[in-house]
């Protein structure tokens, strides 16, 4: 239940990598196309699906929401400011929805990340994500659980 990439449509632009809040969309080193490196950690936020300019990303939805033979696809039209959804049920029924991307003036409530400082190489290599740990309201290091505090042995 996660995103996957149609390789014939992806052109490796990197928009999905940029937007993924879980940092699991990466550029594959063999074919230079986007790939979800950790499908288990994908929570189907659809950010990458919407950001993809080539509609190259799709999602295998949860069975209760969209059972076998289903399809949930989205089209983002930036110039119109719209997000369109097409839900296709396995009995062939389809539903189309159109929603606004935003009704607020663009950029007013969104940080302009491109204007920010370029990070240093140490920050790029760090495990911490952008604004961490300050953005989590934590001073100093991220909290960790010491290994010796784990229960030992097999337990269920």
């Amino acid at each position: 239940m996660s995103t996957f990439v149609y390789m014939t449509r992806c052109d490796g632009c990197g928009h999905c990598v940029d937007i993924c809040p879980s940092d699991i969309m990466h550029i594959d080193e063999n074919i230079r196309r986007a790939v979800n490196i950790e499908p288990n950690f994908c929570w189907e936020c659809y950010s990458c699906v919407k950001a993809c300019p080539n509609h190259a990303i799709d999602v295998r939805g949860y069975a209760d929401f969209a059972p076998m033979g289903h399809s949930v696809r989205v089209r983002r039209e930036e110039e119109k400011g719209t997000i369109s959804w097409k839900i296709k049920f396995r009995n062939g029924t389809t539903k189309d929805f159109v929603s606004p991307i935003t009704t607020k003036p663009w950029g007013e409530f969104i940080p302009k990340l491109a204007d920010g400082d370029k990070p240093k190489q140490g920050e790029i290599n760090s495990q911490a994500l952008y604004t961490e740990p300050k953005g989590l309201n934590i001073d100093g290091e991220l909290p960790s659980v010491p290994k010796d505090s784990f229960k030992k042995g097999v337990y269920y």
Partner: protein, 264 residues
């Protein structure tokens, strides 16, 4: 240098038949590499399955005329100008490299089979096309590889970090660069350097065409096919299950100005 056929000069020491044989061997490597890749990656199966699904989901059947029109539009707009890359530097670099490579290869075949060997006529136009093609390939290719590829532009990796995906572009650049250097040194009378770059030119050609199975070479075949399939799916209403275009021109908000990805 630009108007001198480098293959004609080479034919004074190497048999023209050997040069022609080399070109045919490279063509054979492309065919073998692509077919083996098709069998292993099941690309054709994917395309046919996709076409079948699209036919089932089609809202209307396209006539031969409509299909031809869609395919022609795709060739002119999507394929000839690499429209999927949008407006920007990547597209300019790709178009430059693409047409440079086409000119370079076509001119190579014409020069070797038409203007090389004893008694062959002399052309000044085709050598010019060969050199211009190689220069365009270098400009577009180096621009892409040094500055525009996603690893460098968005991921902040250094330009010298080489990955498997670079096999195609680097082999192509090596061909164009060593080809130009070979032509220059051969025409300027530096025999040793001429031979050195000839050997490098031959080696890079073998890597480029021999590496079809492992490299992104076959994208030249699959990408146009995928573009045609995508546009046919838009025209027949199946749209790969995508929703139709929103009938709401600038109704919501102010639209968005997309930023260049910088995911570090």
């Amino acid at each position: 240098m630009m108007s001198i056929n480098p293959y004609a000069m080479l034919a004074e020491t190497i048999s023209p038949l050997a040069i022609q044989g080399f070109i045919l061997a490279m063509l054979a490597l492309i065919v073998i590499g692509t077919v083996v890749q098709m069998i292993h990656h099941k690309n054709l199966t994917y395309f046919f399955n996709n076409a079948k699904k699209a036919k089932l989901a089609a809202e209307r059947e396209l006539g031969v005329g409509e299909k031809t029109s869609v395919i022609l539009k795709t060739v002119v707009h999507d394929i000839a100008t690499t429209a999927e890359l949008g407006a920007g530097k990547r597209r300019i670099a790709h178009v430059m490299g693409m047409y440079g490579t086409i000119l370079f290869w076509v001119a190579s075949v014409v020069l070797v089979f038409g203007y090389t060997g004893t008694g062959a006529s002399v052309s000044t136009i085709w050598p010019m096309i060969w050199h211009v093609g190689a220069i365009m390939t270098c400009v577009g290719g180096y621009w892409f590889w040094l500055f525009l590829r996603v690893d460098v532009l968005a991921e902040a990796n250094p330009w010298y970090r080489i990955i498997k995906a670079d096999l195609f572009v680097l082999a192509l650049l090596a061909c164009a660069t060593t080809g130009l250097a070979w032509s220059y040194f051969q025409s300027s009378g530096s025999a040793e350097l001429g031979y050195l770059f000839l050997i490098l030119f031959i080696t890079s050609n073998i890597v480029l065409f021999g590496g079809v199975y492992w490299s992104k070479f076959a994208h030249m075949i699959y990408k146009p096919g995928a573009a045609i399939q995508k546009n046919l799916a838009e025209a027949d209403g199946s749209r790969d299950n995508l929703p139709p275009l929103a009938d709401a021109p600038k109704q919501f908000g102010l639209g968005i100005k997309r930023e260049q990805p910088k995911h570090y």
